[in-house]
Structures are given as C-alpha cells and as structure tokens.
Amino acid sequence: MKPAKQVGVIHSLPENVFGAAALTWWAVVSLMLIEGTTLALCAGAYVYVRQNYYEWPPAHTPLPDLGIPSINLALMLLTIVPAWWVFRSARAHDRGGVLVGASLQAIMGVAIMVLRYFELQAVNVRWDTNAYGSVVWGVLVGHAVVMVTDVMDTIGLALMFAIEEPEEKHFVDSCENTQFWYFVVASWLPLFFLVYLYPRLG
C-alpha cells in the first residue's frame, strides 16, 4: 500500500449538526418519499375504483360524515404548535422545552388516533361492503399507520427526554421528528379532500 500523506485536518469539524447536512435528515426525507408514494398509491386506487361507478359514493352508500373528521383535522393542524415548539427547543438545546412539546404532541397524537378510530365509523361504510368502502378504508388506515409510527416515535422521544439526559443526536432527532410530523399532517390534507369533500362535489 502506498504511504499516507496528510493534506488536511478535520479535528474542528462538528460532530452533530441540524438540518440537511446531517444523516438523519436523509433518512427522514427518504421515509417521506416512501410513505408519500404509498399514500399517493392508496389515493390512486381510490380514483381508479371511482371509474367503476356511476355515482360516488355508490348508490345506497351514504356520504361520509363531516363532523368528527373535521374536528380531527383541526386537532392535527393544532399539533403543529407543539411540534414547532419541540423544533425550536431542540435547536436551543432546551431539554425541558423539548419534553413539554413532545409530551403535548404525543398526547394530542393519541387523541388523534382515537378520533381516527371514530372516523372509520363516521365514513358510514365498511371496508367489505364494496370497493368504495375498501378504498376509503385503505386511505384512512394507510394514513393512520404512517401517523401511528410517528406518534409512537414522539412518545418514545418524550420518555427519553424525561428519563435520561439526552445525547446531542437526540436533539437532532427531535427536529427531524417534527419535520416528519409536518409531513404526516400535510399529507392528510389532500386525502381529507379526497375522502370527505370530493364525494360531495356532485
């Protein structure tokens, strides 16, 4: 092997960084692409099945309710606040701030999950009634799975910050978790439109 010749030093480079320079960001963005594609496909299946029917929802299938879904949507939008708080606190290395934000976000997240369960009743169709029911449940459950993984992540973060002195990288992870949560909320908007508003457009 040829001998090494030192041409530079890198001792002073940081060992943790926020944002796209760090590896975690790339993992989270890749996950967004993957989940985003999956949700887009669920939506695609919904649109594909639409063309098999003259009416939508199909005849004898009621429209989905708007009440509980709207409350849940509002709650989801509200969670942006604690998520942002986590982001801000993490970048300031404020363990307490992250703990408060993450705990709030986690609690609201669980509430959203509970409401999502009621949303599944509120669509007024079962997954096995017809293909319309299947694709509606497909969209709702698909998004719910994406959401539940992030809620679990947030709960885990809150626990970690509560019990243990976090490492540097956990502050970075908290920021990335916020970004993923923004994705969870943002991806719901077109899906909400598709499931609850589009059938009402006549």
Binding site: M1, K2, P3, A4, K5, Q6, V7, G8, V9, I10, H11, S12, L13, P14, E15, N16, V17, F18, G19, A20, A21, A22, L23, W26, A27, S30, L33, I34, T37, T38, L41, C42, A45, Y48, V49, N52, R91, H93, W127, D128, T129, N130, A131, Y132, G133, S134, V135, W137, T149, M152, I155, G156, L159, M160, E164, E165, E167, E168, K169, D173
Partner: protein, 649 residues
C-alpha cells in the same frame, strides 16, 4: 464465517500507524456468536445477505430443474399440476424477490461504503434490521412451500385467481406477506445507499468524479423507493381481500381485477431495471479495470443511467396489452418501451469503445462481460419486438416471452453478477478465484443459456403458452422442449463448476493483496479483506480515475476519532468535509425488532389484529435501539461532542 486468514498485508493508509490497532479495538470490541448477531458492520451483514441470496438462487435453480425435467417430454408425469404450479411460482418468486433484487442491493451494501471511502454505511443498525427481515421473509415462504402451502398463482399472482374465491388456504397469503418482508428489506437497503452515496463520499469525490458503479447504485435506490410501495400496497390489498373480505379486486362489488395488474406492474417493470441497473454498474467498473482506462463518455454514461431509470416508470402497461387498455394509451407505452433501448444501447457502445481504445486484460470477469453483451443484446432486441402491440399480442404469455425475459435477466443481471463475483471475491475474502475453472464456468453457462432459451423463441411462436405443466405430443413441441432441457443440464454443470471454484478458492485460492487487479476505485486502497473499520484516515480523491491518479503517496485527512466509531460526512455535490458523525455501536435491537416484525406479519395472515399488536410491540426494541447509551462510551463529556446549528449540505 471468514476465509482462512490470509496474511494481513496492505492495511489502508494511515498517517499514524498506531491508529490501526486503536480502530480495530473500537470497531470490534467483542467477538463470538452474540457479536455476530448484534453486528452492525456493513461487510458482515452484506456477506450474510449475499450468501443467503445465493442459497435462494440455488433453490430457484432447483425449481427450474424440476420445470425443465417435467417439460422435457410431452405428457410427462414427473409432477402433477398442483406441484408444478407451486414449483413454477416459487421459481419466479424466488428468483425475482429473494435473489435478483436483494443480491444487487447486497453487493451494494458491501461495496458502496468501501467505494466511497467510508468506514461504515450511513445507518448501520437499520442495515442489520433489513437483513434479518429479509431472512425471516425468505424462510417463511419456503417453510410454507415445504409444508405444501407453497404459493401457486404465479410470481405475479393475478386476481381473481389469487383472490379468496379461487385460491383457498394460506398459499397466496404467505406469498403476499413475503412481499411485505422483502419490500421492507429492499427499502431499507435503498435508504442506506442514498444516504451513503450522497453524504459519506470521500473528500474530493464530487458527483462528477464518482465511479459509475455508485451512480448505478444511487439511481437504483431511488427507483426502489418509488416502485416498491406499489407492489406492497397491491399485495396488502390482496391480503385484505383474502383475510377480511375487502373488495379491492372483486368486480362483483365495484373492484377491479386490473387494479392489481396496474399496481403490480407499476412496480414490476421498474423492478427489472432495479435488477439490471446495478449490473450495469458492475460492468462499468470491470470494463475500466480490465481495459486499463476509464469508460468512454462518462457524462453520457451517467445520463444514460438516469434516463433509463426515469423511462422505466413509463413502460408498465406493456405487460397489459392483451387486456382492455385503449389503443391510444398503448401507443405511449409502445413508444417508451421501444425507445428505452437507446440509453442502454448507448452504454453498450461506450463499453465497446472503451474495449477498442483500451488494452484488454483477459480474465474471467471480462469474459462474462462479453457474454453479457451477446446474451443481453439478444434479449434487448426481442424486447423491441414485444414492445409493439400487434406482435406482443402473439408473443405475450407464450414461451417467446419466457425466452426474452431469461435472455435479459441472465444476460443483463446474472452474467454481470458472475463477473462481479470473480472481480470482487478477492476483496471480500483475500483470495483469488481460479481462472481455469472460471473459464469453464463461463463457457458452460454461455452455451447452456443459449441452448436452453433460444429454442423457446420458436416454441412461443409455435403456440406454446406459459405456465403449462405439460402438453400433448401432437402439438409438436416435444423436440424443442427436449433441447431446452438438455441446455438446462449444461447450466447446472456451469453452476457446479462455480460452486467448486468458490469452495476451493475460499481457503486455497492465491492470496490477493489489496489490489490484485490494479484497479482505480477506493475499495482497492485497503486490505483484502478490509479491516472492520475499512479505512483509517479518509482518503482525498483528486480525479475521476481514483487510485490511478496518485503518485507515490495517497493524500488523506487527519482528525477522525479512533476511540469512537466515526465517519466523515461530506457535502452532496462536491464532497467537502462537513461533519464527523459518530455512528452507533453493535446491538441486538435490530434482530429483536425483525423477530417482532416477523411475528406481526406472519400473524397477519391469520388475523388482522396482529398488525396493531405488532406495531405496539415494536416499540420495545425501538426503545432499546434509540435509547441514550451512556455506558457504552468511556468519555461521557466528550459524548456531548461539538455541535453546530448549520452546515453546508
């Protein structure tokens, strides 16, 4: 399993030679079975992956042997229709899901960190998870097969045949769930590759100096991310139709049999390019090394990879020309399917030009490259034929297509893979494979593949359809089928020679040293096999020609820790050093998580409640995984490290 220790020579360059011992301690703190189970070393994981894929390749080959034996004579009674249907389904399923894609990714998982000059892959624990999930999925479907619950609806399992009404039992459920397992593993590998290639490249390895192999792996990883979700979604819909009575694919309730085909083929077409493009990466490196010069037309080669990948997402309907797709739509897919030959053709022209301008060194890898050119070109030309709707309506679902797909897969993936094995075996094990056996291996495979599959073009045009367990003598298909089956025996002989070569070279091959081929890429700048830490000091890359550009010394940077496992993170475009990333230590958490995912998915074929239960249970190993580890590092103060709010991307 490690190769019988070849002498440790040619350690990677280090300004301070004492670093080697320190790094060895840091990267290999414990040994033994538990260490193996908890390992997050990308090389260890990739070797397991490759070995597992080769086992599946052998199983897929055995299934092929049964097929060819059964079809060698008309009205043969070797196996009945039920067994045959399981065998051909398992053959396709094994080859596509358990061998072809994973092995290309596994070769990447081994080579990419080395080729970018990094100590480790971007997400070592996630890497381990990917392998275990893959292993459990493969064992799962084969357990089903051995219990007479083998998938039997074809590797693309069209509904309604694979639906609840026409496929009873758990056969198709097992198949559909295997897809979930392998899809998770593939996505994890893709995520790894993207982050490693974009962020862990050696300083100075700007994008336009990156070896073509890395471009191929990067492009493939993006394709996996956009294609895999389609088959996973489709197969989950199928599972739910079968398990809980959803109606996605049931025409009686507004569902659609063609929805399955669209979801499957939107994945299925890119899938074959996911298999093919990494092989193109192998070829570029091998042609470079064995013609002693860089491949001609680097920017065109990169563009060709990007265009091929992009276009491959616009072809899928060509699998559905015989359905009710309207003629206008088919026109688009015919055009795309025909024109995709251009970027690949251009790559072949560039390699031929490189051969012309270079000074070929005739070793086994280059032989397999020549074989690839011949076999793949035939496959590509029949591909242009079936791109046309009128001709495809004759050839579709006949043995003509079987011929086409095997020519492109064997020519375009397996031959390059064998070239890659002969080429990189010395790096992985420290020993060279035998050249004479390599030549026998090549010629037997080359002859065998042509004898087996060429007659199938004719058989297809003579009316022989796919997936038939037998045929009447008066169809006249007997002679060509017999010839084809003889060819299969020749292929088996070629594979046997490979196995013998592998076994003999593993412990008895000539010692290779760091760079037996005098190649130019960074993996050859460390010992063979590489030490656990791959490299000591990050090597600075100064040109597209890598190692060939250095004089008497190799330029390196100093400053990564040796007391903690640390990689240098660089910018995406120009690979400027930006961050020193401490990566995680070995842990059993990924293995535990894979077991729980396995339990969840296997349970999921019996009851939908397995999913929520599993998701909750995953929380436990996840916490194990991510929990702040205070005790594993010695210097708790230094653990805080330095931080920065912003850094260049």
């Amino acid at each position: 399993m490690t190769a019988a220790s070849p002498p440790v020579i040619d350690l990677p360059p280090a300004v301070d030679p004492a670093d080697h011992a320190r790094l060895r301690r840091t990267y290999e703190p414990i040994r033994g079975f538990y260490a193996w189970l908890a390992s997050v070393d990308h090389k260890s994981i990739a070797k397991r992956y490759i070995a597992t894929c080769l086992v599946f390749f052998a199983l897929g080959g055995l299934e092929a042997a049964v097929i060819r034996a059964q079809l060698s004579r008309p009205e043969n009674g070797l196996v009945g229709p039920d067994t045959y249907n399981q065998v051909f389904t398992m053959h396709g399923t094994t080859m596509m899901f358990l061998f072809a894609v994973p092995i290309m990714q596994a070769m990447g998982l081994y080579l990419v960190p080395l080729m970018v000059g990094a100590k480790e892959t971007a997400f070592p624990r996630l890497n381990a998870l990917g392998y275990w999930v893959f292993l459990i999925g493969g064992v799962f479907i084969y357990t089903g097969f051995f219990l007479n619950a083998g998938a039997d609806a074809g590797w693309f399992a069209y509904v309604p045949l694979s639906g609840p009404e026409y496929s009873s039992g758990k056969r198709v459920d097992i198949w559909a769930q295997m897809i979930t397992f392998t899809e998770i593993a593939a996505l994890i590998a893709a995520l790894q590759t993207i982050a490693t290639v974009l962020k862990l490249r050696a300083p100075g390895m700007s994008l336009n100096r990156m070896p073509l192999f890395l471009w191929a792996q990067l492009v493939t990883a993006f394709m996996v991310i956009f294609a895999m979700p389609s088959v996973a979604t489709g197969s989950l819909f199928l599972s739910f139709d079968r398990l809980v009575g959803s109606q996605f694919y049931n025409p009686a309730e507004g569902g659609d049999a063609l929805l399955w085909q669209h979801l499957f083929w939107f994945f299925g077409h890119p899938e074959v390019y996911i298999i093919f493009i990494p092989a193109l990466g192998f070829i570029s490196q091998i042609v470079t090394t064995f013609t002693r010069r860089p491949v001609v037309g680097y920017p065109v080669m990169v563009l060709a990879l990007l265009v091929t990948a992009f276009m491959s997402f616009g072809l899928w309907v060509h699998h559905m020309f015989a359905t009710t797709v309207p003629q206008l739509g088919s026109t688009f897919f015919t055009a795309a399917s025909t024109l995709i030959a251009v970027p690949t053709g251009v790559q072949i022209f560039c390699w031929i030009a490189t051969l012309w301008l270079g000074r070929p060194v005739w070793r086994t890898p280059l032989l397999f490259v020549m074989g690839f050119i011949a076999v793949f070109t035939i496959g590509g030309l029949t591909g242009v034929m079936v791109a046309s709707v009128p001709f495809d309506l004759q050839a579709h679902d006949s043995y003509f297509v079987v011929a086409h797909l095997h020519y492109v897969l064997l020519g375009g993936a397996v031959f390059p893979l064998f070239a890659a094995f002969y080429y990189w075996f010395p790096k992985i094990t420290g020993r060279l494979m035998n050249e004479r056996l390599g030549r026998w291996n090549f010629w037997l495979l080359f002859v065998g593949v042509n004898v087996t599959f060429f007659p199938m073009h004719r058989l297809g045009l003579e009316g022989m359809t796919r997936r038939v367990y037998t045929y009447l003598e008066s169809t006249g298909w007997g002679t060509l089928n017999l010839v084809s089956s003889v060819g299969a025996v020749i292929i088996v002989a070629g594979m046997a020679v490979f196995v013998v070569n592998l076994a003999r070279s593993w412990r008895g091959g000539a010692v290779a040293g760091a760079n037996p081929w005098d190649a130019d890429t960074l993996e050859w700048a460390t010992s063979s096999p590489p030490p656990p830490y791959n490299f000591a000091d990050p090597i600075v890359v100064t040109s597209r020609s890598g190692l060939w550009a250095y004089g008497d010394e190799i330029p390196v940077l100093q400053g990564l820790r040796t007391d903690l496992p640390q990689v240098l993170v660089t910018t995406v475009m120009d690979a400027e050093p930006v961050l020193r990333h401490i990566h995680p230590s070995p842990t059993i958490a990924p293995f535990v998580m894979a077991v729980i995912i396995g339990a969840m998915l296997i349970g999921g074929i019996f009851t939908p409640w397995a999913y929520p239960a599993g998701l909750v249970a995953i929380g436990v190993p996840w916490l194990m995984w991510a929990w702040p580890r205070r005790r594993s590092y010695e210097h708790q103060e230094e653990l805080k490290g330095t931080f920065s709010l912003e850094a260049p991307i």
